[in-house]
Symmetry: C2
DNA sequence: TATATATAGAGAATTAATTCTCGATATAAA
DNA sequence: TTTATATCGAGAATTAATTCTCTATATATA
């Protein structure tokens, strides 16, 4: 989805494969749960069994984080948790601005556990003056006209877009004006930003497509073959 | 992420590759926009240029939907839109129940454009009696105790989970009890369901990981090499 | 009418991601 | 102490996904 760069820009910095990056948080969550039970060690086999992944895949993913294990023993849970945090950049706090204080924005402002990942949404912005001056989950909502200025002044480099699709580009432009480095875009729309800005799109329609297609195929099959097996 | 089946279950029905399924909605959105401008034809090259995809990739994706084009001309936009809708199962309505009427649930209940994808959330459910009897975006919120029964009676086969992680399994169990076929899980938690149920997880932490890692790498590089290029 | 060109379509080549195989080793059991 | 076994680590093999190459063809231009 977010395939690095286009024709022009060469991929300067080698980042981990996206599939790996998407699996690491799942390991991370499991490891934290296990740690609470008092466990101290874990093997790839066990992680794989728990999350339905191939153990070798888990091992290769872990290898990327720089953790070394011991044969027959496995990895130290604490060490592994720290390595994943370090690898993902979850070991330091990143401050973020959120644009669009609708219900989706509100949901993200109150999302539990972002702080564990080092994400700290410090303020929200909206065009609607009625929404401004409100405080949602302890975060102030300000008028969007203040975004770029405040962003520069506070040196915030991370932006989250939760506005309707039609306003996504405008939101992105303001974030770019404020010197944004990375954008997490929840609006179902393509945004155009300078090459240097990292964008990840959280497009619900893309996920829905996966689900609807699978469901449709399954229904087709069961109706044509009359519920085989 | 949602890698089909585990060790035990063979993958009975051949579905399209997930990367393709995730790109199709992007083409679809672009095509609908273009159609509104009065255009009738489009080439893979143009789609690719617009969305920064390789034209061959676009062509292969389109091939899967069964659409045929003409050299030098391209595809008929209308035909292509219909083919994508048919392929994804967006040409017929799927009714869904939503579990968890918090702000995320509210956001989904008011999400614009789900109906274009054939998705119709018919009701929401929550444990909190204060939330019940409310109407959000025209949809009634009922007590969760009524879920399974109503689901069977109304023959709803699609469930959306927007409860906190700690309650996700309970929500999933109720949906399974109601005869669910596919679950769209927004809770950051693994849910266990029978093999026959299709699950797609919308795990924000997985997406965040991609973004934070890229951002971290970029910051590391610019600080060590002092803003090269 | 003849020529140039953009593009679909087929299939080969390449690249990325996953899975398998095997040797080394640390622990537990005999 | 010896043997058995689980598991890491390295690298080969496989599979999936993407990109490239070439041919045929439909349209536009000369």
């Amino acid at each position: 989805m977010d395939r690095a760069v286009g024709k022009t820009g060469r991929n300067i910095l080698i980042v981990a494969p996206e599939p790996t990056l998407r699996r690491l948080p799942l390991y991370y969550r499991l490891l934290k749960l296990l740690r609470e039970t008092g466990r101290t060690g874990i093997s790839c086999t066990t992680i794989g069994k728990e999350l339905k992944f191939d153990p070798t895949q888990v091992r290769k993913d872990i290898e990327l984080t720089g953790t070394v294990g011991r044969p027959k023993v496995g990895y130290d849970i604490n060490e592994l948790i720290c390595a994943i945090e370090r690898f993902l950049g979850w070991d330091h706090t990143t401050e973020a601005f959120l644009v669009g204080a609708g219900s989706l924005g509100e949901a993200l402002l109150g999302y539990p556990g972002f702080s564990e990942c080092g994400l700290n949404i410090v303020a929200a912005f909206d065009v609607d003056p009625n929404k401004c001056q409100r405080v949602i989950h302890g975060k102030h909502v300000r008028h969007i006209s203040k975004l770029a200025g405040l962003m520069r002044r506070m040196r915030v480099r991370f932006g989250i877009i939760t506005v309707p699709a039609s306003e996504a580009q405008q939101a992105a432009d303001l974030l770019v004006e404020g010197g944004v480095l990375a954008i997490w875009n929840f609006a179902p729309a393509k945004i155009r930003v300078p090459e240097r800005v990292i964008v990840t799109n959280e497009d619900l329609y893309c996920s829905l497509a996966v689900l609807s297609q699978k469901m449709t195929r399954k229904l087709e099959e069961s109706s044509s073959k009359g519920e085989s097996k």
